[in-house]
């Protein structure tokens, strides 16, 4: 873990991103507040549909502006990103903020050469001429660990392996020397061995360029490996937030604990894969009042939940939502969550 500055790079306050379904807006990200510091890797964890990707696209303004409403504050450099216009956003995207996508095959234009795709952003953010841009492309490719850079720059995405493509995506994100990198499940579409390489790369690049990284993932293994701080999301809300070591040693919320329990363990005697009962409720059916996790712990009495669950500080930098976690017991790590 590198040195994390105390300087706040990005401050998200009461962010609410809603999607329109038949003239009604349903919040997919509901009242989320977070901070990202310089040289920090902040992981946002949660299962599919919890709103973590929506949070990521809200930060860079990549959502569909007709069907999406973003409220609240996303403060960066004294600007509120939540109400920037497309033109204002274009000055930040690819320059101050880089974005890494989940599937590097579909995220690269199949008909454009790699070099052209990396150079594209440089046209709008730098005053480099064509020759200088080409040199910068080779430099970037080498920076992400591609050795035969000049060859790769002339190739098309389908000619590269998955890991190489993700390195190219990272090179695109790095091209503007960004202060913030948002990585939306950067390793999910890759083989396990390649995943480790990409994580190492992200980590070493971060040490080099000192940017803040928001890492969206559902993979706690990834989190343990490179994150500094973790926010666990459930149904559009943050339910627990803590420094990574604290979260793994001392998880409080039952959801976090069951997430940790569902990591398959090679040495475990228990053959059964731990799963969390139930599913994240769909956007339209989501309860908007009370503890959103209550439907997944039906055996707990209503009285253990707060009426309006808030984040409570239970340790230095360790926040947990609602009070229900105090009434929830795990037998032990190998035990199952629910019978």
């Amino acid at each position: 873990m590198g040195f994390v500055s105390t300087k706040e790079l990005l401050t998200i306050r009461n962010l609410r991103t809603s999607f329109r379904i038949k003239d009604t807006f349903y919040p997919a990200v509901d009242d989320v507040s977070l901070t990202l510091r310089k040289n920090e890797i902040l992981a946002i964890v949660g299962e599919s549909g919890c709103g973590k990707s929506t949070l990521a696209t809200s930060i860079v303004g990549l959502h569909n502006s007709i069907h999406t409403k973003v409220e609240g504050e996303i403060l960066y450099n004294n600007q509120n990103l939540a109400n920037l216009t497309e033109v204002q956003f274009n000055k930040l995207r690819g320059n101050d903020i880089g974005f890494i996508f989940q599937d590097p095959l579909s995220a690269l234009n199949p008909l454009m050469r790699i070099g052209e795709q990396i150079a594209e952003g440089l046209i709008y953010h730098t005053k480099l001429n064509k020759k200088q841009r080409e040199a910068r492309v080779l430099e970037l490719l080498e920076q992400v660990g591609i050795s035969n850079a000049s060859r790769v720059a002339n190739q098309f995405p389908h000619q590269l392996s998955g890991g190489m493509r993700q390195r190219v995506m990272i090179a695109i994100a790095l091209s503007g020397k960004p202060a913030i990198i948002v990585a939306d499940e950067p390793t999910t579409a890759l083989d396990v061995t390649i995943q480790a390489q990409i994580l190492d790369l992200l980590k070493s690049l971060q040490d080099e360029i000192q940017s803040g990284i928001i890492l969206i993932t559902h993979d706690l293994g990834v989190v343990a490996e490179i994150a500094d701080r973790v926010a666990v999301m459930y149904a559009g809300e943050i339910i627990e937030e803590a420094p990574v070591i604290e979260l793994f040693r001392n998880p409080k919320h039952p959801y976090t604990r069951s997430l940790l329990n569902s990591i398959p363990q090679t040495h475990s005697e228990n053959e059964k894969l731990e799963i969390i009962q139930g599913m994240v409720p769909s956007l339209m059916k989501l309860p908007r009042e009370g503890c959103r996790f209550s439907s997944r712990v039906p055996w707990l009495d209503e009285s253990v939940h707060e009426k309006n669950p808030k984040l409570h500080e239970v340790g230095p930098g360790h926040l947990v939502r609602c009070t229900c976690w105090q009434h929830f017991y795990f037998e032990d790590k190998e035990g199952s969550v629910n019978g």
Binding site: V60, R93, F101, S106, P110, L111, E120, Y124, H158
Partner: protein, 320 residues
């Protein structure tokens, strides 16, 4: 690149062989023989029999096929009975006119369809898009000959804006500017009529491609680079959506040649299509077989053209 093209051309050889065999079998199945049309009450039946033997009518089918195909390969499709001229010279004259019409129509089709498709896709679900879609549905629903007849009647006979038959006025001297202008003038009405109906598929196809492309991840990547939306459209969305349309070109040309049969009949434009209908009506078998063979060959050529264009524009299907 060249590998792909050469491989693709080699595939055409068996295709052409099967096509010629099918046409030959069909021609053999047709009633009568080449001499039926020449018989008059004074003809001596023995003389006909003699000619039949001389022409190889009683040879085994494979010998007949061999003779036909080797001659055809050298451009000799035999004699036309109604025109009493070599088939090749009749078709050659007409083919030029049909190609002129087809070329004009294809240019017109793309000139109309691409902007409309792009606009419909770019602003989909708006009033403009709905109007374009309505137009394409109407043009899809109208039978070709109905629209052609209405156009001939309204613009040709009533308003007299356009000539209603022929390819050029007979009074003009070949080679003068006026002559070529007049030829072009004769192309206008059939070309426009064809284009109005021929745009449907391309508009719909292009519109869907663009709407699809808009939601692609690489478009998000492009936006994440901070490129202005206009550039995202031109460099990523339009470019990627236009490629399949470019590849469609070969098939459009093939479709046009088939369509020439209708359009040339209605506009009395003496091209291959009209020749085809006339030959069927007068049972000019050697012309029919030659034309079917030619149309088949052009269809194969059209799909070859499509594949070549596709391999140029899409790096993923090249064989390296």
């Amino acid at each position: 690149m060249w590998k792909t093209v050469i491989r693709r051309i080699l595939i055409m050889i068996p295709q052409l062989f099967i096509l010629s065999l099918l046409i030959f079998i069909l021609a053999k199945q047709m009633p009568g023989d080449p001499f039926t049309g020449l018989i008059t009450p004074e003809t001596d039946p023995n003389r006909i029999e003699e000619l039949r033997i001389k022409a190889g009518f009683y040879d085994p089918w494979y010998v007949q096929y061999y003779n036909w195909i080797t001659n055809a390969a050298q451009g000799d499709f035999g004699q036309s009975y109604t025109h009493e001229k070599p088939v090749a010279s009749i078709i050659g004259d007409r083919a030029e006119k049909t190609f002129a019409l087809a070329l004009f129509s294809v240019i017109l089709v793309y000139l109309i369809a691409i902007p409309l498709g792009v606009i419909a896709g770019r602003y989909h679900d708006t009033f403009v898009d709905k109007t374009i879609v309505l137009y394409s549905f109407i043009s899809f629903a109208i039978p070709a000959f109905v629209l052609y007849l209405i156009f001939v009647f309204v613009f040709g006979y009533r308003l007299m804006w356009f000539p209603t038959s022929g390819t050029v006025d007979v009074s003009l001297d070949p080679g003068t500017w006026e002559y070529y202008w007049n030829k072009f003038y004769h192309l206008l009405l059939p070309g426009i009529s064809y284009a109005i109906l021929g745009t449907t598929g391309i508009i719909q196809y292009l519109r869907t491609e663009i709407i699809d492309a808009k939601t692609m991840d690489y478009v998000k990547t492009a936006r994440s680079k901070g490129i202005p939306m206009k550039k995202v459209y031109s460099r990523h969305i339009f470019r990627n959506s236009l490629l399949p349309i470019a590849a469609f070109l070969g098939f459009t040309i093939t479709g046009l040649l088939g369509g020439s049969i209708f359009i040339e009949s209605v506009f009395a434009y003496p091209g291959m299509g009209k020749l085809f209908i006339d030959s069927i009506l007068s049972r000019d078998y050697s012309v029919i077989t030659a034309l079917v063979m030619l149309y088949g060959f052009l269809a194969l050529l059209g799909s070859l053209l499509s594949d070549i264009i596709l391999s140029i524009v899409d790096p993923r299907i090249r064989i390296d």
